[in-house]
């Protein structure tokens, strides 16, 4: 943080002949520094989580309308509404509602979803697997297709292969996926009749029923991440592929595929990992739209239903849940990044 600190790193007053034991000690010191940075990063999520809970509370309170009236319907008597307000704790001052909400969340109590007649958290957890099923599959497909294309494009820089796939990747990045979803439905379901357009298959009808229902939503969800992986892999690979040490490896007679995949790719990994984290974290946004198109019974359709039926507790719960997931995914990605590339956090030292 302090400007003068960084000077010491650039000009280490180290004598040329450093005694051996000290070198070993400094290695250990490096290790504990990584641990310290990781610990610091973990502690950092506490204020973020606090802010996330607060923003969620404020946002849901700002939604116009009154939960008690919504729950009881427009014909409810003022008495009944007042009673319901008391039951929901809405008659208390705002700060008390906030404290109660905070305490509830800490105990895993996200409130009561009137439109599903049940507590919020179990409803969310019930829908979560369906969302994970298509988002994770979509991401895996994106990785399996995007990264090899990126590597090949870098190896064959400025060839027809490179041009074709980079144009495709650019189109993919710019794709409104809800439109892509409609076009897939139009082509594969309406015109060819090959694949179902709606809902989730059931395992009782066999594996194909499950898979055939997943193909369209997953291709939809794989498009943007896949295109992004292809682009970032290509540009990251172009840097390592032309580095001197890679040329040296080639000169030593290693086969091209070993040079590319084992050495150049390994060193090109950090930016790809960063992008992976970003895509993982934003996968839920894609799920909201994709699930709406394919009537997929996951969290995406749940939030849209909750918004349409003004189920305040449920909206609040899903918003908070997805934000908390985002925070933890980011944490895991950052830690993985630090472990793979420990140099990064030394140089950026105290700067958060």
């Amino acid at each position: 943080m302090h400007p003068s600190c960084s000077w010491h790193h650039h000009f280490p007053a180290v004598p040329r002949a450093e005694p051996a034991p000290k070198a070993v000690f400094s290695y250990r010191e490096g290790d504990s520094q990584v641990l310290k940075t990781i610990l610091k990063r973990i502690l950092q999520i506490i204020p973020v989580l606090f802010v996330v809970v607060t923003i969620t509370f404020v946002l849901t309170r700002l939604i116009p309308g009154d939960p008690a009236t919504v729950m009881l319907g427009p014909q409810a008597s003022p008495d009944a509404i007042a009673q319901m307000k008391e039951r929901l704790g809405l008659d208390k001052p705002m700060w008390e509602q906030y404290v109660n909400y905070l305490l509830g969340v800490l105990q895993g109590d996200f409130g009561y979803a009137y439109s599903y007649s049940g507590p919020v958290l179990p409803i969310i957890l019930d829908r979560l697997p369906a969302t994970l099923m298509i988002t994770i599959t979509g991401l895996v497909i994106a990785i399996l297709i995007g990264i090899p294309i990126g590597v090949e494009s870098a190896v064959k820089q400025n060839t027809a292969f490179d041009y074709v796939f980079m144009v495709l990747a650019l189109v993919g990045v710019s794709m409104p996926i809800f439109w892509l979803g409609l076009m897939l439905v139009l082509f594969f379901s309406v015109q060819l009749g090959w694949l179902p357009a709606m809902g989730m298959g059931s395992a009782a009808k066999g594996a194909w029923d499950v898979i055939s229902h997943m193909i369209l939503p997953c291709s939809c969800l794989a498009t943007i991440p896949g295109a992004t992986f292809a682009r970032i892999t290509r540009s990251s690979m172009l840097e390592t592929i032309n580095a001197d040490y890679v040329k040296a490896l080639r000169a030593r007679g290693l086969t091209e595929s070993v040079v590319i995949w084992k050495h150049a790719f390994k060193n090109a990994l950090p930016p790809i990992l960063t992008v992976l984290g970003l895509q993982l974290a934003s996968a839920f946004a894609g799920a909201i739209l994709t699930e709406t198109i394919f009537s997929w019974p996951g969290l995406g359709t749940l939030i849209v239903n909750a918004v349409n039926s003004r189920d305040y507790a449920l909206i609040q719960g899903i918003v908070l849940f997805s934000a908390v997931i985002f925070v933890f995914v980011n944490l895991v990605v950052d830690i993985a990044y630090m472990l793979i590339n420990p140099r990064v956090n030394y140089e950026s030292g105290g700067q958060s």
Partner: protein, 305 residues
């Protein structure tokens, strides 16, 4: 006499210096423009963007018909039908006219939302980066918190709070965009803040405002411009997504998003509605993305790979 002699030349050199400075600046600008015009991706992007902007600005002259004129006798006409190159929709409205007017709303909303996000975000980023300490911590933790919400979810909730309507879409997209701009600018401030010339200015007694705007903001401008352009692309998608979910621009006002949403409902009967509106969204997003990539290559040669 001596006084005059010493003063006259100094005034001269001053004006000469400033002319030189101006020339230099002009040359630099020309250079950037020159580079941009030689960058293939940027040119393709620019052409697409310019065409779409022309559609939007001159919609009244380009659209052959009133976009809201209902003609129940001629609903769901196929593209190429007499007088309707893109056909008609479920109310018999001319689809081409609606697309042209939709360009106006969609691009206006996307640029408007990006401007709102940029102005608030840049100010917060400058303040956080420049003052540091507790101010920085508070602002950036709030930004981190906001970033934890998936963009579309945040915009969705904001639209629920604000209610549908064009200005509210702009506001929702703008607010949801603030954290990204704030982060980028804050990062740049940290880079520039401790540079020699900033310290020199401070020693010379320059005010904080002067340092922030004259040096820090000026240096952060390149990444802001790049991000601004790329962000318009994603804002177009956001508008379309919100309208698609029924929480954006309310009909009968045409926007690409709600035309697409209409098209979803008549996908089997009239697939051209969804197809054509989506192609316009895709092309425009592609245009802004290409332009943004091109500008980055030109403004930031270090990043060029």
């Amino acid at each position: 006499m001596a006084d005059k002699n010493t003063q006259a030349p100094s005034a001269d050199t001053l004006s000469e210096a400033s002319t030189l400075e101006m020339l230099k600046r002009e040359r630099r600008a020309n250079n950037a423009w020159h580079k941009l015009s030689r960058n293939k991706t940027a040119v393709i992007g620019l052409v697409i963007v310019v065409i779409m902007v022309i559609l939007a600005v001159f919609a009244t002259f380009i659209a052959p018909q009133d976009p809201n004129a209902i003609d129940i006798a001629h609903t769901y006409l196929k593209p190429g039908a007499a007088g309707h190159i893109f056909g008609t929709d479920s109310y018999g409205r001319d689809l081409f006219s609606r697309i042209v007017y939709g360009a106006r709303i969609s691009i206006f909303v996307a640029i408007g939302g990006t401007i709102v996000g940029a102005v608030i975000g840049v100010l917060l980023g400058l303040v956080a980066g420049f003052f540091g300490g507790i101010v920085d911590s508070i602002i950036m933790r709030i930004m981190d918190g906001m970033m934890a919400f998936p963009f579309i979810l945040l915009a969705l909730i904001l639209m629920t709070i604000l209610g549908t309507g064009t200005l509210n879409v702009i506001l929702a997209i703008g607010i949801a965009n603030v954290p990204n701009f704030a982060r980028i600018v804050r990062g740049q401030v940290h880079v520039v803040k401790n540079e020699e010339y900033c310290n020199a200015e401070r020693v010379l007694g320059a005010s904080n405002a002067r340092i922030v705007f004259r040096h820090i903001f000026a240096n952060a401008l390149s990444p802001i411009i790049v991000y601004f352009t790329l962000n318009i692309a994603s804002a177009i998608i956001s508008e379309a997504a919100l309208s698609f979910l029924g929480l954006g621009i309310t009909p009968p006002t045409a926007s690409w998003g709600n035309i697409l949403s209409d098209g979803k409902n008549s996908l089997q009967l009239a697939p051209h509605i969804a197809t054509i509106s989506g192609i316009f969204i895709l092309l425009t997003v592609l245009g802004f993305n290409l332009l943004g990539d091109g500008i980055r290559d030109v403004l930031d040669p270090k990043q060029k790979r």
